[in-house]
Assembly symmetry: D3
Homo-oligomer: 235 residues x 6
């Protein structure tokens, strides 16, 4: 299968979905990480241009560890909007990856960019397969029913997972991928006094406590009609 994770910022995938993606890679599926913004604004000191370049490098290093393709869309950080222009961009992201399974942010996450990326993915996943969709740079991919999963929220705020993936065996991969995002370890510590390693250990350990394993990632599924809901496509 083709697996696609669409995140707003360079480290979001690592925090909430990397373990699941590593399971897919191990099972031989093709995985793509799409990062919708340029990640340029999230630091109090480093200038946008420099920050963006750094974060792209970090993201590519993390994707390489996973063995995944990377799509870097480059929308200005903090300025995601579900408008026509960004819709066209998102449809082309989906067309490039032609996914059977999609992961993205939860619609009620804490960050506006996360929410709007989620909305854009929802708005686009039906339209990726329509050949006459105007204004796209890429031709339509398969219409057939991709399943869409929403990633957990940090600290579980407003989020009760209904699906769990056991990531105990690939937790080290997740950690190694996260470690690539050096600039974020600094920024998070500065802005919010958070250690990102602590963050993923609590997040994955807590979801594991629920699911019955050491570490897990939690998701909810978008239930939409005619999307093959009788099968589990998660690893």
């Amino acid at each position: 299968m083709n697996i696609l994770c669409v995140a707003a910022h360079p480290d979001d995938t690592e925090l909430l979905c990397a373990g699941t993606l590593a399971r897919y890679v191990r099972e031989g599926h093709r995985v793509t990480i799409a990062i919708f913004t340029d990640g340029s604004i999230g630091d109090a000191v480093v200038k946008p241009d420099i920050l963006s370049a750094t974060r792209e490098k970090e993201a590519r290093a993390a994707a390489e560890i996973l063995g995944a393709d990377l799509i870097w869309t480059g929308v200005t950080d903090e300025l995601v909007f579900p408008d026509k222009e960004q819709r066209h961009l998102m449809i082309d992201v989906l067309r490039r990856a032609d996914p059977d399974v999609i992961f993205t942010h939860s619609p009620n996450d804490y960050h506006p960019d996360h929410r709007y990326v989620s909305q854009l993915v929802f708005d686009s996943y039906f339209q990726k397969g329509l050949p006459h969709m105007p204004g796209q740079s890429l031709p339509a991919c398969r219409f057939a029913g991709a399943q869409l999963y929403y990633m957990d929220n940090i600290g579980g705020i407003n989020f009760l997972p209904t699906e769990y993936v056991d990531i105990t065996d690939v937790f080290e991969t997740k950690k190694a991928m996260l470690a690539c995002h050096k600039s974020q370890f600094v920024a998070m510590e500065d802005l919010a006094s958070i250690d990102m390693n602590w963050m993923i250990q609590m997040q994955a350990g807590f979801r594991g406590l629920a699911a019955g394993c050491r570490y897990a990632e939690g998701f909810t599924r978008l239930d939409a009609s005619q999307r093959g809901l009788t099968r589990r496509v998660l690893p």
Copy 2:
């Protein structure tokens, strides 16, 4: 009363609301169907211009069977956005119909156009009666409290009806109206292997099972203050 159903695409009304509208017509009310997009994109083969023309003809034929007026707004299919331009269009749709009762898509339906039409109707139904609203082509209609109902979702996904209308006696009218949308019988079969007659029989039969009759249509009501919530305006 004036009854208005605002749908995103030419066959949406038939699938989820036509029986209820037929009940209203039978009781002597004036019914209007507004179709917000041109329905041009939903086929994998037929070109947009040709498809749109076909679908408008089909929609007019269905409205004629019902005895309803048709408003054809012509926004490009798959590109509904709750922005200022389309808000102005929607307010004028409402002003033209001057409704006592409004039906539209549920805010969490599976299709982005459905969701955004729903949002535009919500955004506009308060403003239709404000005389000084800038940028409108039509003068304000009555301000007084129209009740707004959301139509069911196909397969009941994310939808629990709180209101039911018995459509057993008018089910044949609904079927005849749906039959006008020949192009959609083909497209749905091709894209998703669905027979649309099966679809409405399951949908209306299941809601009837709940409501205590053969066939029913299910709705939820938008509860908003000062809208005459002590009366049932449904047939």
Copy 3:
């Protein structure tokens, strides 16, 4: 129609449903108020026997103002349990009234007696019409689908009404009925510093604000299959 309100304590009906019952009486329906407990325990000073006798007298006076029958079941106050013994009692209450419409407490009200009366009504309303139900003193009444409504919670805690009844014209009747419960005006003032007239004015005024009239009572409907859900049976 036969209308039945089943309350746990002598003044519950007056606080949350009396206006609606008055509307039914005015339209010529037969109304019964059933009080399930003896109301004996709710005062810090007055002895149970004396209190119970007082409250029965007050309840009968209020029912007389309304023009309703009164059923006084006499279960010990504060000791309602959804067990077999009280189930038998409740089924006979329903059989005596043979209702088309039933009102009772919301399942998540603040008082255990309210919650368990609600549960007993739910448990019994299907069984009232089964002729072979063992252990009953009264024969089965009609099986046919009575609709069941849950009354509002005081202060709206955990309660969002979905149905409203305009009681503006009968608010004085409601007030007169409540005034019969003199013992409760004292007890509520002593235990919780509440003036019961203030209470009903705020409760009915607030629900009227939502519904679009001066005073209203709010309810939710129990949706159960095959109960004639396509009609509004509320006044």
Copy 4:
């Protein structure tokens, strides 16, 4: 695996779960149907003793078609209570079947017996594996984490499935099983004017519409900690 469906009445399994059980049988799993009451009260004419004997015969015939074991507990119909006595009975039902997967009624179904059977299953499934549980006739079975699924409600009232099983290929088995319950075809027709074949076709057809197949059964999973939530155990 050992699969167990615990139903309150003789035909409940056929209406909501038989297709899924047939899938399990086809895959070689051992299936048990437990019927908790004697089904004696649900007819307006036939006497309890005679009705109960008839319904047990019908249930055994249906189980035979499926190739399943039948447990007939014999609690008086309409008198299920989540008390100590019936808890002991339910724990022994679970111990006899030693299930890996359990199906039972949804906690908010329309019938009190359904709700209380659901509650008794919940209350017992943790305790089935505790060796020192007092008052049981059977020794403890495995403690290990069985997953528990709640069956759909008729007409979908208060129920949004999160899991679907494709039963298209076994729908005829489901129909044949239901056909064994001849007494119920009569009773349902008399009491509520319902044709049970229509009922299962609408129910399974509607859930199929959502899931993307011809016929499906819908469920929700009880999420409880440490129950192996990272795997799908449904067929």
Copy 5:
């Protein structure tokens, strides 16, 4: 602390939050009221320019009674959109007030302007503290975690408060502030036959009934990670 209330229209603060703000002022905190639109469209007779000027004067008078700063943003009434342009405006509103506590409309209020102001506040409160945010006229304020509260909905529609503030002692201030909005007393009476004094008495009296005092205002808190959720910052 710095307290900020962001409302869509000139009288919204008075209806739902003024008592709480008065409590803050009394405790010595700095309070700012921001009004996002020019309030120009809500009257059926008075011209927009004149109405807007009147309402600004009324709002300034009310703020003066409270002892609060007023920010008048001047977006055209009825045309709030969560787009890039208005996002920039909202971020600067927040930067000007540099709040520790923010109040705004509930995301599911009845008026589109209320909903979109709520969305804009959510979208902006994270970004107010990012120094490199492009397109802003004001420099970043503190990043640190302001708590965000949603105001009640009129008539409690779709709103269950989780936080209450006792405003009994400052109810007269609230009333005096509301009285400044003379133009609205007329408009509400004309358009919807509502007396605004009745409105606040029912709203605050009903919430007081729940909370255990004479008058209260109800709120919900936006739970977002790392926002100091272990403290109550309400008076």
Copy 6:
């Protein structure tokens, strides 16, 4: 204030509430832990009598570390029922502690004993202050409005906290209290392969991630009318 935590089993308090209780003790409040069952059944090998004696000793040791009173009610483990007999017991537990703040299990926790203890506390907290309540061994305590909080569920299943208490400074006390329950470290490891130290670190660390501190405990409040909801009584 008087603080009371009512748990079903000897280690439940330590897992979910001990940090908050330690905060109360530190602030000079009087804390009582009530354990409703004898904890006799939860081990696969150790006999009930011996296990119960061991667990009582462990519980007393933990309470001593905290500086709290212990109430040991002695209901048979796994056999909690919300019936009249256990209601009387629970009312007397509450009367003995005369609480201003009560903690107990969430009504939808995974264990039947937890759910029924929760239900019994709800059923009793109104009745603890009624002098004429029949069948009690202890006289009524204060009627006045105690606030009731529900403890978190392990792994957060079906639980979204609305209140958080920062327990970073007292986490070692919590750990020391848990360490007293040696028998449970063995039983949990045997039955479910869980290390209880890991469990509390994940649980408190994850809630801290949400709340903005190192370790937190999460709760929901029972909102009931007239219970002083305008104040935070949590530390």
